[in-house]
């Protein structure tokens, strides 16, 4: 057996070892949630297929991610606490009714959209009592690709947010909303919604979500907001 043949005999063995090296971590991947935690299970609406690619750029825009979202774990006992809870807004909506924001309908269809006029506007969800909030999931209008600007989420126990509230998300990179410069990313809407995780939990009864138009026009749209806590 010459030298070349020896290499050829060993090569499959190396290949097998390489495959094992790549796949082993996934075989042994730990799907089990950390102690005292459960995976947050979300019901996702149908994705929208169609429209034109987004032609939007911002120094703060997150690269589009087509993969499934990795599991997000919340403490045991955390549940959806915002379903059918009352919603108020900075101005009356120009389309739809505010109650649609917590009605569980996440479809991208026009009938599911709540539209607020141009400029910096907010919607506010009032929970029945103070909760410790661990996750907020937001679906803006996701028929086609849009980026909602100055998206800021705050939580407070004061219905008027005189204390400013605790910001759990802020992608206003130039403080055009006047609520401080945010470090979070702008993102392209899709059926997965935006999951805002609050690992340590934040206490509050009111959740206020700001936006200041989108990459398509100046309007502000909401399909659904879900708040998870206990």
């Amino acid at each position: 057996m010459n030298y070349t043949n020896k290499i050829y005999n060993v090569l499959p063995l190396f290949g097998l070892m390489l495959i094992c090296l790549i796949t082993l971590p996934t075989l042994y991947a730990d799907d089990t949630p950390p102690a005292g935690k459960i995976e947050l299970k979300l019901e996702l609406p149908e994705p929208f297929f169609g429209g034109t690619p987004i032609d939007y750029y911002s120094p703060n825009l997150e690269e589009e991610d087509y993969k499934d979202r990795p599991p997000y774990y919340v403490p045991d006992g955390v549940a959806l606490i915002s379903k059918d809870k009352p919603v108020t807004s900075s101005v009356p909506p120009t389309r739809g009714q505010l109650k649609q924001i917590t009605d569980g309908d996440k479809d991208y269809g026009k009938k599911s959209v709540v539209e607020l006029p141009a400029g910096l506007q907010w919607v506010q969800i009032e929970l029945d009592k103070e909760y410790t909030i661990y996750a907020i999931v937001v679906w803006h209008f996701h028929e086609g690709k849009r980026v909602y600007k100055d998206f800021i989420v705050t939580v407070s126990n004061d219905s008027e947010f005189k204390d400013g509230g605790k910001q759990v998300y802020n992608n206003d990179y130039d403080n055009s909303a006047g609520l401080g410069i945010g470090k979070d990313k702008e993102f392209i809407e899709n059926n997965k919604g935006r999951l805002i995780g609050v690992d340590e939990g934040v206490k509050g009864k009111y959740i206020r979500l700001y936006s200041n138009g989108n990459s398509y026009n100046d309007m502000n749209h909401y399909i659904e907001v879900e708040v998870y806590g206990k």
Binding site: D174, S176, Y216, N217
Partner: protein, 548 residues
């Protein structure tokens, strides 16, 4: 007699109050909508006229001279003598004032169409989304509609009585319509046809008139008509000559008036760069009856269209009835003849505009005025048909609901969706995003000015697609417009670059730190704004401590 006098007095008062409310509502929020490219372009030309006193008619673009000259008094009233000091409100107040005159233009035909029809038409005109929207739009359409409608109303008066004053006024109105917009030739053609039709109708029905000692049979004198033609031509010639010669300063403008038709016939055929404006024949019907795009509301002036259909049907029914009965009163003949005249004047134009591939939504205004008049006539017909109190009460309720809906839609279209493509009258409009870009430039320029530096803006686009940026940059002295990347950009704080050139541009930028943002100037048309990084950092420093 006494009662009639008081009625006229109170009517005049209420009508003036109504016009005042119309005026106020149209001035409210006059500048919230960004300047459309056409508006900006025309404002720029008016600025040249203001600063240098120069205007030259362009046979290829921008339509006639009237709008520019008509804007000058506004500047003089505001004591503004520089383009950079002019504002959106100054320019847009001109079409608003012309739109008010459209209401007044209906007064001469009030006695022919009937008082209820006049009232309902005025009401529908005041709440029409299209009329409200374009009354605050610095383009030629509103004065064009005014002079075109005045032309046909005065012509009708002339056909009726063959008096000298209406033919003089008709001549002036037609001349001013041509001075405003070249498409007046379509109005002239359709009015010529409708005049022939109505003369034939009047001649035929004159045998059926039930004459009395007080009323003479109507007959149009062709000999008298021919004698009046020179008068018509002279009064037509005077404004035409003054405006197209730029008040004796540009004789070439008179020839350019004729040359322009080469351009406009070519454009109407859908050739050349104007191909992007080509639309199917039903486009105008679509925007009037049902228009729904993206998330926005459903837009319709269907209530007006429905009443208009009733008006047309009842008008033609009256005419047919006269032929069948072979007798009519003078009033019946007058009314039916006017309806025939108006119908053919407005709807031949509508048909021609629908058949021309080149379409822009503001062209609908003139036919829409006809529809509004027929809607008034339609409501009047229903009012006369149903005389019982409950029926008339129902009619009033229907009118109220329809008017309320149209008003609400007008409010939405002008104050909420004023620059949104879901609005049928927002056409290739400047995005509010561009205004934000300009706000950004001016905000940052303030920082430079405080440091005794002069802001410089370079706009780079390979196909010279700059409008309406020059309008928004009018307050910045140092600016440049380039079709390719300039050889040096050292020290330039602001660069507006089209995406086609951005990759090439970024190679030039190597080692020169710039912050990059994107803005939409029109739907689907983007521009990058490059801001010198050091300037951006100063801005963010200021912003980070600012709270609303």
């Amino acid at each position: 007699m006494f009662k009639n006098h008081y009625f006229k007095y109170y009517f005049s008062l209420i009508y003036l109050l109504f016009l005042f409310i119309v005026l106020l509502s149209r001035f409210y929020g006059i500048a919230i909508r960004p300047m459309h490219c056409d508006e900006a372009n025309q404002a720029y030309k008016t600025g040249i006229l203001l600063e240098k006193g120069v205007y030259k008619y362009d046979p290829h673009e921008h339509h006639g001279p009237l709008l520019y000259y008509a804007t000058l008094p506004v500047f003089y009233l505001c004591k503004v003598y520089k383009f950079q000091d002019t504002t959106e409100a100054m320019y847009r107040s001109v079409p608003i004032l012309f739109s008010l005159l459209i209401f007044l233009s209906l007064l001469p035909i009030k006695k022919y169409i009937g008082f209820p029809a006049f009232l309902v038409s005025s009401l529908l005109l005041s709440v029409s989304h299209a009329f409200f929207f374009y009354s605050r739009y610095y383009v030629h359409e509103i004065p064009f509609v005014l002079f075109s409608s005045l032309f046909i109303f005065f012509l009708w008066d002339y056909i009726h009585y063959q008096r000298i004053l209406p033919i003089i006024l008709a001549g002036v109105a037609l001349s001013l319509a041509f001075v405003t917009k070249e498409t007046s030739i379509i109005i002239l053609f359709s009015t010529f046809l409708s005049s022939l039709i109505v003369l034939a109708y009047l001649s035929k029905t004159s045998h059926y008139l039930e004459t009395t000692f007080f009323v003479e049979n109507y007959s149009f004198s062709w000999v008298k008509g021919l004698k009046h033609i020179p008068i018509f031509l002279i009064v037509f010639f005077i404004p035409w000559f003054l405006f197209f010669s730029s008040f004796f300063t540009n004789g070439e403008g008179l020839l350019d008036f004729f040359r322009a038709y080469q351009t406009y016939f070519f454009r109407a055929s859908g050739e050349g760069s104007s191909g992007i404006h080509d639309k199917p024949w039903w486009y105008y019907l679509q925007i009037l009856i049902y228009f729904n795009k993206t998330v926005g509301p459903v837009w319709t002036e269907g209530f007006t269209v429905l009443l208009c259909s009733i008006g047309i049907v009842t008008s033609f029914y009256s005419a047919i009835k006269i032929f069948r009965q072979k007798r009519c009163t003078l009033r019946e003949q007058e009314q039916s003849a006017l309806c025939i005249f108006l119908f053919f004047s407005f709807f031949i134009t509508f048909t021609i505009l629908s058949l021309i591939p080149y379409k822009t939504p503001w062209n609908i205004l003139y036919p829409l005025l006809g529809m509004i008049l027929f809607a008034g006539i339609g409501f009047q017909a229903l009012w006369q048909k149903f005389s019982k109190i409950w029926a008339r009460f129902t009619l009033l309720i229907v009118l109220f609901i329809g008017t309320y809906y149209l008003s609400y839609q007008t409010y939405q279209g002008n104050f909420i969706y004023f620059a949104d493509i879901s609005n049928p009258y927002v056409y290739a409009h400047t995005s509010t995003s561009l205004v934000k870009m300009m706000d950004r430039i001016y905000q940052l320029s303030d920082i430079l000015t405080k440091e005794n530096q002069e802001p410089v803006v370079l706009v780079i686009d390979p196909i010279n697609d700059y409008w309406p940026i020059p309008w928004y940059l009018r307050k910045i002295q140092k600016k440049g417009f380039w079709s390719k990347i300039p050889p040096t950009i050292n020290g330039v704080p602001f660069l507006i670059v089209s995406p086609e050139l951005s990759k090439e541009f970024e190679k030039v930028l190597t080692n020169k730190p710039y912050m990059k943002e994107i803005y939409t100037i029109r739907p689907g048309v983007f521009r990058y704004l490059y801001i010198q990084q050091s300037l951006w950092d100063k801005f963010i420093e200021i912003q980070s401590v600012q709270k609303k």
